[in-house]
Each structure stands twice: as C-alpha cells, then as structure tokens.
Amino acid sequence: MKTEKTKEESPSAPSTSSSPPFASRFESIGVKVPEQRLSTKDLMSGVKMWGKFDLERLTGIKERRVCSETEDSYDLSLNAALDCLKHSRYQAEDLEMIICCSITKYKDGMTYVWEPPFSLYIKEAIGAPRALNFDIANACAGMLTGVLIMNDFICRGVIKRGMVISGESLTSASRNAVPRVKTILSGQLASLTVGDCGAAVILERSAEGKAKLEISNFVTLSKYSDLCIGGPCRNAPGAQMTTDARKIHQVAIANMPFITEKALKESDLGYGDIDHIVPHQTSMRAIHSGDKRLGHYFGVRAKNIIVNLQEYGNTASTSHFLALYRHLNEKRFKPGEKMMLMALASGLTVGFVIFTMDDLVDRYGIEN
C-alpha cells in the first residue's frame, strides 16, 4: 500500500512530512472459542478418499473448535468483544469506532447478514451506540486490515480508541467438504483445516514515548486473486471454499522474503530483531517451510514462531489474535519484546503489523 514517492512515479507525492501526530497501541485483546471440539480423526472419518492420507500429519492440526447449533459468527464476535472489554480499562461507551472484519457473517444460525452492517448489531449489543461503525472483508487478513484502518484514524487524531472485531464460523465449509473431498488434489481439501473462533482488539492512542504499532507494507498480489474462492454452498447450508493451496504456498514462499524485507526496512528493524513472529495459522508444514525460506534469505533464523493450530486449526481472520491471546495468558511475552504479526490471505494479501510488547502483558495470565 505504501507507494514509492519519487517525482517521476508519483506526481502527487506529499510535500510535507508524512509523520503522523499520534501513534496507536493494542490496549486489550479478547477471544471467544466455542466449547465443542472436533478432532481431525473424527472429521476425516467421514471423508472417503482414494489411497492413504493423514491430514493431521500434513497440517499439524489435531483438533478445532466448532460452533454448536446455538452459536454463530454473531455470538463469537459479541463474546469476544465482551471479553476484550473485560480486559480493558475502557467501557463500551468509550469506543469511538467499531470495525467488523469477519469473512462469515452468520446470525441466528446459518443465516448470512448482508444488511444492516454486522458491526451495527455488535455495537448495539455491547452498548457503544455513538461509535462509528462499518464492516470490512479481506479474507484471513481481515482483522489486520481493520487494525491498519483504525491505526490511521488514531494516528491522525480523528479518534482516540476503537475496537476491531471478527467472528469466524467457518466449519460449515469443512462439513460441506467432507462428502466432496475424494483425492489429495481436491480443491476443497483446505476447507478441512478451518476452525471457529471470535476475536476482538481495542486500539488506543499511545502515550508519548510509549510503545506503538508500526504498520507497514500491506500488499495485494492480485494476479493470484482466484486461488482461493469462498461463498455460500450450492447444495447445503453454510459455506463452501475452493483453494489451490499448493499454488498459494508457492507464491507466498517466492514473494514473502522481499515483502518482509521491505516491511522491516520501513520499521528500521532486521529479521533477527524480532522476538516473536505470529504467522497466519495455515498448516505446520507451510509455516516451517516459510520459516526456512525467510531464515535462508535473511541469514538468521527466527527467534520464535508462535503456532497454535494444533488445537484450533486455521481460524481465518482471528488467527493472529487467538495466538497472541493464548500466549499472553500463558505469560510467554515480556515487555520490550518485538512482535511481528504476518498476514497471508486470499487475494493474495500479505501484510505486517510490528509492535513492541508493553504492559499489555500485565492484564493477562492465569490469575486474570
């Protein structure tokens, strides 16, 4: 998204410094995962495939959470928002902006809501009627895109705080894929990796001299926009997703080092300076090969890569905040550590949010 500001290429480049007057930070994070678990073994018991295939071995996913009949994207979003407020210093009425970023917008069961905006239902339910609200969608990069937009409003001084929310009720795509997956080359194979989850994060204006979000280099490689397409299933309730996972992986592996390098350069950091990397949680094998490629390119291995897909699967736009939340509660982070959230989503979208861990760690843990 950052454009090169040379006179030749960009005649409307700003004449003044683009340094914003304010900065933002993550004030609190909330998560809601459904109680119901579905193991990969149980899911695959319904799949009739030619030859042997071990999804758990290929992806590292042992189980995922699935919505019960009384849960949907709305419940996950709402409960994640309430959990976020529970960890926050703010009340709902203090929020000035609410952005909903779910791919799935199911309410009242498997009914997909197009209008009114999903964010309006959430803001009314949590009690933030004065907040500016709208929905965005950017596949699995949705929440980080919401963070990018809200950060811009905070940095310009338009608002002081707001909430980015997502509730992904995706496992109908798994359920619908089960009778259709016949070979390892099936376009619906990736649908078997998803899990349900809700996540919310409050962004606030960072005090002067305190930690801030460094957001850089959100890019859409649209040449590959048709590699993963999701929408309503033609002959069953819920969703259906067709993915060329192999090609997405190839494109990501080929481009990731250069885009990562540019993002790090804009933040004046080296790859070795990052203490924790939170990648999009697709599969263990993809994360490991990405780590290997980046390590080879930068000549230094990542200090720590956070993976939690063993228990939750790929929870789409919520995956980064689910991983952060869990590790915050396990007291795995220390103030001052450099964090990098890496988005990789259909589109093909790549993006980075880099920040320094601060006293956010104090509000999470077993006692909280």
């Binding site: 998204m1 960009s10 410094s17 309006l120 709208f134 596949a139 811009d152 999701g230």
Partner: protein, 295 residues
C-alpha cells in the same frame, strides 16, 4: 487539507457485462482513463458493493478489480496496491471515500479509488431484491488546503435496525432448497430515512458552522425509492438535490456515483462552493460529508 475527486466512472449492464465485477471493472477503467492515471499509482482500492456475483465472500472483490485494471498485480518492490472490501449499506461508497481520504491525508498513499456495484447475485434465487444493477468508481487524490473533503460524519439510529434487512439463508424457494437471498423493507422506511437524514443534516451544519443557504449542491443516495421525494418536501432542498432517478431508479451503493457524475457533467459540481454528500443505509445509518471547491 482534504482529498479531491479526480474522476468518476460509471457502468450498467451490457451484452458482455452482466455481473457486478464486470461492471466494476468497466467503471474503474473509465474512471482511470478519464483521470489519465496509471493504475500502478493506485495505493488503495476499495470495493463498497454489497450484492456481488454469486455472493462471493472470499477473497475481497476488490482484488479481482485490481487484477483486471492492471494495478501492481505482482510485487515489484517499488510500488504496490492494497485492496479490500468495505460495506456499510447504502453509505458504503461514502465511508470508503472517508477511509481513502484518511490514507491520503496521512501521506500513506497518493491515489485511492472506491468502486462499487450491486446486482442480483444469483438471478432467480432471491426474494424482494429490486436494486437496479449499476456500478460506479471514484478516484481521489490529495487536494489543496481548504478544499476537497473537509468533514465527515456518520450516525446510526438502531430503532430502525429491522426496517431494512437482507439475509442469505437455507430455505425452500419454488420447490427447490438452496441458499436464497431474502430482502425485506418496512413500510415507511424511506420516510424514516429522510427524517433521520434531515435531523443529522441540521447537526452536521452546526458542526461545520454552516447554514443551509451556504450549501450549493447536495449529492444524495438514490435509494430507497421515495427517499428523494421526502427530502424534497423540505423547503429549499429540491433545487440543491441531484436526482438521477429519472434515468435509473433505485440504484443502491453506486447511487452517489451517478449523482456526482451528472453534477460534474452539467457543471453544477465545479460551480458549487460547498457540496454536501448525504447518504442513507440500513440501520438506519446516515453518512454526510462536506466537499469544498475553491472558487
């Protein structure tokens, strides 16, 4: 310093152009052509349309448009384009412009585009859908001090949250089970929209220290049907409103694009010092923006 509107592009269905994405591509290409801008200079591309081909939810529809117009489809290291979808009912296009305006003001991008289209997603598999298929694109760049978009405001009134609903659900329709789109609109919805829009217009004028006589032109939503007629009942409104319903009735998110294009082609837009964007959507949501032309 507000962002300025460089060009508008429009599209309606043609022989080889029936879907929402095809219409958006045409509108976006015409918009870029009109502004004579290299698509590779687009920093952000937002799709604000709701009713899209086959209800595609992933990836963002904007990524298909980015690819078709040839805006940095691959990473070259020098420049890049970022695409995503934004929905806010009938106010989506203006909300998209507000987001682009922000990125222009912060110096993150130099050019941004909001594209929108609505069409019956799966013809024959919807009930109550009656929007006219149409697409619009608006190109924005950084403007001069004291000109362009100067103020945005959005308010919602959830008393009317059930008055316009659009849902996709598994049901039987014409002896066939499927995921069908069902839209419902309460009687009196247009009147409520107009009433709430006018209430917020008064508050907006106070916020901007303007009086109604200072507003030279109003670019309003073109739906729901009856909304413009209700607005025109207020004294002094009719001559300021741009109404394109004589040509295209009930255009949804692209409505302000069509109104803007008409005002631009007739010269009314450039002649207006203070131009007001007034949009309404389900919720009820009212979004307003003040756009100033340097005279």
């Amino acid at each position: 310093m507000g962002s300025k509107i460089d060009a508008v592009g429009l599209s309606t269905p043609g022989f080889f152009r029936r879907g929402s994405v095809d219409m958006e591509i045409k509108a976006a290409k015409d918009c870029l052509k009109s502004a004579q801008l290299d698509p590779n200079l687009l920093g952000i591309l937002i799709n604000a349309g709701i009713y899209r081909d086959r209800h595609i939810a992933e990836p963002a529809i904007a990524t298909f448009i980015q690819r078709a117009i040839g805006a940095n489809e691959v990473f070259t290291g020098d420049r890049s384009t970022f695409s995503f979808d934004l929905t806010n009912g009938g106010c989506g296009m203006l909300t998209g412009m507000m987001v682009v305006d922000g990125f222009l003001q912060s110096g993150t991008i130099d050019h941004g585009m909001v594209v929108t289209a609505d069409t019956d997603p799966v013809p024959g598999e919807s009930q109550g859908y009656n929007y006219t298929p149409a697409a619009a694109a608006v190109l924005l760049s950084r403007g001069e001090d004291g000109a362009g978009f100067l103020h945005f405001k959005t308010e919602t009134e959830a008393r009317f949250i059930d008055d316009l609903q659009s849902r996709l659900g598994w049901m039987q329709h014409k002896r066939k089970m499927g995921n069908f789109l069902v839209m419902s609109q309460a009687e009196g919805y247009a009147k409520e929209c107009a009433q709430y829009a006018l209430e917020n217009l008064d508050a907006f004028l106070k916020d901007t220290s303007l009086k109604m006589k200072d507003i030279d032109l109003i670019i309003p939503s073109q739906s729901p049907p009856g909304f413009l007629e209700e607005l025109k009942k207020k004294k002094g409104m009719e001559e300021k409103l741009v109404d394109v319903t004589d040509k295209l009735e009930n255009v949804h998110t692209a409505g302000i694009g069509f109104a803007l294009a008409r005002a631009m082609s007739s010269g009314r837009f450039t002649a207006a010092k203070n131009c007001l964007f007034l949009t309404v959507g389900a919720g009820i949501t009212v979004s307003l923006a003040l756009y100033r032309n340097l005279q």
